[in-house]
Symmetry: C2
Subunit: 209 residues, 2 copies
DNA sequence: TGCGCTATTGACCAAGCGGTTAATACATAC
DNA sequence: GTATGTATTAACCGCTTGGTCAATAGCGCA
């Protein structure tokens, strides 16, 4: 069925290297044009490859999208506590320091947050995305829950495990809420003032008698 | 250029009625299949109309999308304070009551929240969407800011207008953060516990001396 | 050197998209 | 009853998309 076909395949590469090259290109495309703009052809063009090759390494487009989601989650919700914060002995202060650190970190790469948000919305329709999202979110939340349990005064009745979990959830709300709101109107938002308000809230938290 | 053409135009309708009919269909389609599934043809099929007619009333697809966004914003971020909450005299309790009310309200229609989130993500790329979003978010936030100013102890130096605005922003984070997290893993989330944590935070807020 | 394996390419395909338009049926005005 | 205007339809168009595939070129190995 072929009419004419010169063809000129480029140089070869190991599977791992090619996958990484393609994933990197996909990441860049998604950051710039969003998930809508993440087409097989756009990724291939960015990686300077034929679009057939992209589908050769990632059999279907959604496999590429899921691999990219792993990368986004790893870079966004993988919480590593810096040494100087881990060294803070007072749990309350440690929680506040971690808060500040994460707020600044996540505010610095708004495009990645936006990409995370796009996946988030798609998670409502796609069970696989939702599951990956759930795992990432859970580990992120757990880090806060761990510190929150120590920061809370350990009263017998009032503070159950559920409370600590809920407190961790509110912490995540406060952290993600800032870049998400700032994404829409950057003018009205000062990270310092937001942090001051959150600090005021957290500072009074363990005062419970 | 026409080959053959019986055609059978249906009954006519006033412009306003048709637009409403189409918008309603678009809303239903978007709720079920997300913005990705919001195609002119899908909307037309749902409204039992030809897809040409949809484009006759909304000249371009994005005009339909923007009109739908208005509807979503009106139903989601238009904050009307119920009488029983407005009657609460203590500003702190009023703020808490409004919090509970909004949490429950927004948690009841998760699909609409998801749709709002999809638009939100697209606002990062589309200036018109972003502007509409900003207006809606601003009015929503202002309602909280208004009550927050009264709830805060009016100390001269420490509580400026910026603080109240930032506090309103944290309130919005806490309110939107819940359904957004619950959207991903509904199992780990109890609205009661989350509310208890938020109530604990807010309850201690005005204690500042 | 020559052989086989496979990564790579470009052409191809069907499906679905937004958008346009000639033909047509309906409602209204006269 | 007839003419006018327009809301409505179905066919059509050009384009992009994800996916497939025969042909091919480069590489390791004998």
């Amino acid at each position: 069925m072929r009419r004419k076909g010169p063809s000129m395949p480029g140089h070869k590469a190991t599977e791992a290297a090619r996958r990484e090259q393609i994933l990197k290109a996909a990441y860049e495309v998604a950051l710039r044009r969003g998930i809508d703009g993440l087409t097989v052809r756009a990724v291939a063009a960015r990686a300077r490859l034929s679009h057939g090759l992209v589908l050769f390494h990632f059999k279907r487009k959604d496999q590429l999208g899921l691999a990219l989601l792993d990368r986004v989650l790893a870079r966004t919700l993988a919480l590593t506590i810096p040494d100087d914060i881990g060294a803070v002995t007072n749990p309350r202060e440690r929680l506040q320091a971690l808060f500040r650190h994460e707020m600044h970190r996540l505010s610095q790469e708004p495009r990645r947050i936006r990409l995370l948000l796009e996946y988030w919305a798609r998670g409502a329709h796609n069970a696989v995305i939702r599951e990956k999202m759930s795992v990432g979110l859970d580990s992120y939340r757990r880090a806060f829950q761990h510190i929150a349990e120590k920061a809370l005064p350990s009263e017998p009745g009032r503070l159950s495990k559920g409370t600590a979990a809920a407190l961790a959830a509110t912490a995540v709300s406060l952290i993600l809420g800032y870049p998400v709101q700032a994404m829409i109107d950057p003018d009205h938002f000062e990270v310092a003032e937001y942090l001051a308000a959150v600090d005021g809230i957290l500072g009074q938290l363990p005062k419970a008698a």
